[in-house]
Symmetry: C2
Subunit: 530 residues, 2 copies
């Protein structure tokens, strides 16, 4: 990081503390002074160091060094090369923890070496549950939408922990693999509340929830319900919802109709990259991963090894990510100041080689940065300037790193709910026909409190009725429910496990779920056709 103008902390973080329950970080000096902070800095691989250099140069010229210094940490290719499969050293993790803030350039995940994505590792490790991304039409960045005169100014809040991203996958038979899609009430709560709080801070008056609750009725139904619950605490903000496939069509046809979107993980991943495309690609789209204690601000584009070291890379995405950092800690005016200078620069036609008017010569990374620094204090003419309202100025520059938790915490939404066992779903690895399987299952539950209520295959009922056209794979779900006359709650799970045991004498039971009512409401979906 030679030549970085901002003050670097020179005292190394002394104690290397592994991230585990047994450890504790006490008396870390950084970021307990609300008017001056240290930010961990991981320049990244490929073009990372040169665009980071350009960004720090601009921040310094804008006077940000009065409020923050940067502490370089070791992460990325050099760490992977030492055989550390996380791609980040213990010392780096400790420094990030002590700061509570990380500004991060693009990093490679080496293929085939067992190395894991640093982005995913850091998000999980620090429980950065919300991915915040903003998408704004920039002057001089030509896209099909800018050519059509469509102005985009949109924020996407994506859930970052749950959904299928838990990576809980099992091969359940020769031919069937399952991935668990998990949606929790408290996880949805904190994400949606964060979205509304952010909308409030940004002066956004309508937030849409994107979801697929018409198909995933229970999981996305829960996400949507918690979105609506959160909305009730923000009465000044309108709350709408839209099915994700329709949303993507609308985004392509009329993106200007949305100001803020909040979505579950996979759908949010897809939608946020779609939105990046609307404004010119990942090179113009910043990103932040927000946690309760630690937040990560990063460029999500690649490391562009083909142009690394040439001094021609475009620092815009990383610069915009650093402005998210400034806004996160209350430096809203400084962020607006820099963003306006960027807009003026782009408006004047100055561009790096990857975008802009190709009939005009492009400039290098540092000349682009200097052009922005030279324009600090100016406001754009062709697009609206970024203005910080008096109201938004409240709470200026007041960041204190939250205390380190002593261990994993429980987050909860629903308590004091009465559950009652009503049956079980048993999943079998078998090539039986539905009818033959039904005979065996009826026998298995004969002397139990349960009756066979349905058999389904890939979600479609195949017994007691079904379609002759259904194609079955070697993985069945068999549902047992209480016999008529036996009330919910009068028997316990030991009876379902006894049934499971009996079935396992003749079949491979690859999976099982307890069927319960929660406060009298059925806690499971019906099969298609049931």
């Amino acid at each position: 990081m030679e030549g970085v103008a901002l003050t670097m902390s020179t005292t190394p973080i002394s104690t290397i503390t592994p991230i585990s329950h047994a450890s504790s970080l006490t008396d870390i000096p950084a970021n307990t002074n609300p008017s001056y902070m240290t930010v961990a800095l991981a320049p990244g691989d490929g073009i990372g160091p040169e665009i980071m250099h350009a960004v720090l140069f601009i921040l310094d010229k804008a006077g940000v060094s009065k409020y923050m210094s940067f502490q370089p940490v070791e992460a990325g290719a050099s760490v992977f090369a030492k055989g550390e499969t996380r791609g980040v050293t213990d010392a780096a993790l400790t420094a990030i923890e002590s700061c509570g803030l990380l500004l991060k350039g693009p990093m490679e995940t080496p293929k085939g070496s067992g190395g894991k994505s640093i982005n995913v590792t850091l998000r999980k490790l620090f429980n950065a549950y919300a991915n915040l991304r903003t998408f704004r039409t920039l002057p001089g960045v030509n896209t099909v939408y800018s050519k059509a005169g469509i102005n985009i100014d949109m924020t996407v809040v994506r859930e970052n922990i749950e959904d299928t991203y838990g990576g809980v996958e099992h091969r359940l038979s020769n031919d069937m693999i399952q991935c668990k899609r998990l949606i929790s009430a408290p996880g949805s709560d904190q994400l949606c509340r964060y979205a509304f709080k952010t909308a409030r801070a940004l002066g956004i008056n309508k937030v849409y929830c994107g979801h697929k609750a018409n198909i995933m009725k229970m999981t996305d139904g829960l996400f949507l319900e918690r979105f609506r619950a959160a909305a009730r605490d923000f009465p000044e903000i309108e709350a709408g919802d839209v099915i994700v496939d329709a949303l993507c069509m609308n985004l392509v046809m009329k993106p200007q109709q949305y100001k803020m979107l909040v979505l579950p993980n996979l759908q949010g991943d897809i939608v946020s990259d779609l939105c990046a495309g609307l404004v010119g690609g990942l090179g113009f789209a910043p990103s932040a991963n927000i946690g309760n204690e630690i937040s990560i601000f990063e460029a999500v584009h690649g490391t562009a090894p083909d142009i690394a070291g040439k001094g021609i890379a475009n620092p815009t995405s990383l610069l915009l990510s650093s402005l998210m950092l400034l806004r996160h800690v209350g430096l809203k005016q400084q962020a607006a100041h820099i963003e306006n200078a960027l807009l003026v620069t782009l408006e004047s036609g100055i561009h790096t080689g990857d975008f802009g008017d190709t009939s005009k010569p492009s400039v290098g990374t540092m000349d682009f940065a200097k052009a922005i620094a030279d324009r600090l204090g100016q406001t754009p003419k062709t697009v609206p300037a970024v203005v910080v309202s008096t109201e938004q100025q409240d709470g200026d520059m007041c960041y204190t790193r939250p205390a380190r938790p002593s261990g994993p915490r429980m987050i909860r939404t629903f308590k004091n709910i009465v559950t009652s066992v009503v049956g079980c779903d048993v999943y079998l690895d078998t090539p039986h026909s539905p009818v033959a399987l039904a005979e065996e299952m009826k026998r298995a539950c004969q002397d139990t409190p349960f009756k066979l209520s349905l058999i389904s295959n890939r979600g479609t009922q195949v017994w007691p009725t079904g379609s002759v056209y259904t194609e079955c794979v070697d993985y069945y779900r068999v549902r047992f429910e209480l016999k008529d006359g036996i009330s919910a709650g009068t028997i316990g799970q030991s009876r379902t496990i006894a049934l499971l045991d009996r079935i396992a004498e003749g079949f491979t039971v690859c999976s099982y779920e307890l069927l319960r009512n929660f406060d009298g409401i059925r806690g499971f979906s019906l099969a298609q056709g049931q």
Copy 2:
């Protein structure tokens, strides 16, 4: 369907046969003559009947009645009104079965009445496993892409049965709901093979698989592997793959780079609606649901009740869907003939009220249809005409309804695989801390062949190591694996169920999975951090 010019079958389908295992349809006369066929016809609700009328008028003028007649069937609002929650009568289902082909207008799903989507019902019932959608830039249909001079000609093949669309959902604790995402090898096989066969028929030389195998490594990894396996049988067609989020960004920035995409269900749902947006919306995007026996051709736009009966609706989507039907049965030249007339009509600026040059007056539905009929035999000048190559003409008009299966069939990919039990995952509904839970679990497995190997929460490892920042919900996964010295395959599942039984003495076991190796390869993912 008054005034429909095409021949209607006057003999009603005599036997109403419920779709069930016990039933059989024998000697159904329809569609065993390869040169003349009957197509079941469901005009739909709202604008459905009037756009269907227009489409049948055009088909008739193009001489299609030499090859096919239409058999009206009862489905939609009138059937829901009678209290039939499927929205389709048994007689209609029998007629569709006997034809093997259904042309369908838009239909409503009444809200809150317990009624189910007819589209979903029919797809499941008839195992229409592939959703085929084509997206083509049409002259006179202004979009941001047409204005930018970007020509789109793309086909999307979406899996229609699996993924989270099986709707298998369970509430596993107060705060956690799960949806099973299921991907099977034979389901992926038949979908991918259908995509390549379609690419071959359409003369498309490159097919991309869209997926999220970087996150859902086992499920989408399987889908991608089966895509590659299918590709080997089509050596003249190039096979590529792209991560779905990057795909959506690329589609927005440079859609012309793709000719055909094949995707799992949810991702395909999102991507295909995105693509509809690129060409002007659902009003210009046809759809077909293809099964081995029965295929459904439909407009996927809404019923537009606000303009129903006014004779102003746009029949383009349904017309294009009917052309997919013609191509499906080998009437490629007739389809090209009609499509060229549509292109000439649009090129001349004729338009219904929902699109086109608003400075020119719009025409009604039937005048639009007549304008197309008047232009049969012409070819467009501003866009490439649709040409049927000599090669593609092979196999002209040769549709025979496949035999009705006698019952559900097994589809299989992997056989003769040796599996061995190596442990189990047990999922608990508990508010314990990870450390306290670990103590209990270690005790539970003390005298068993298993050791506690990890505890995770929402996919993130919390024991034996973990991050203090992890936020836990009331739903844990506890993994037990064979103790050192015990070989895979030497113990059976009865031991894992015995362990389950012991755990259930003190905890609510909401879910369970058997851990196995398949031909020595681990059949389950590791936890984040494991």
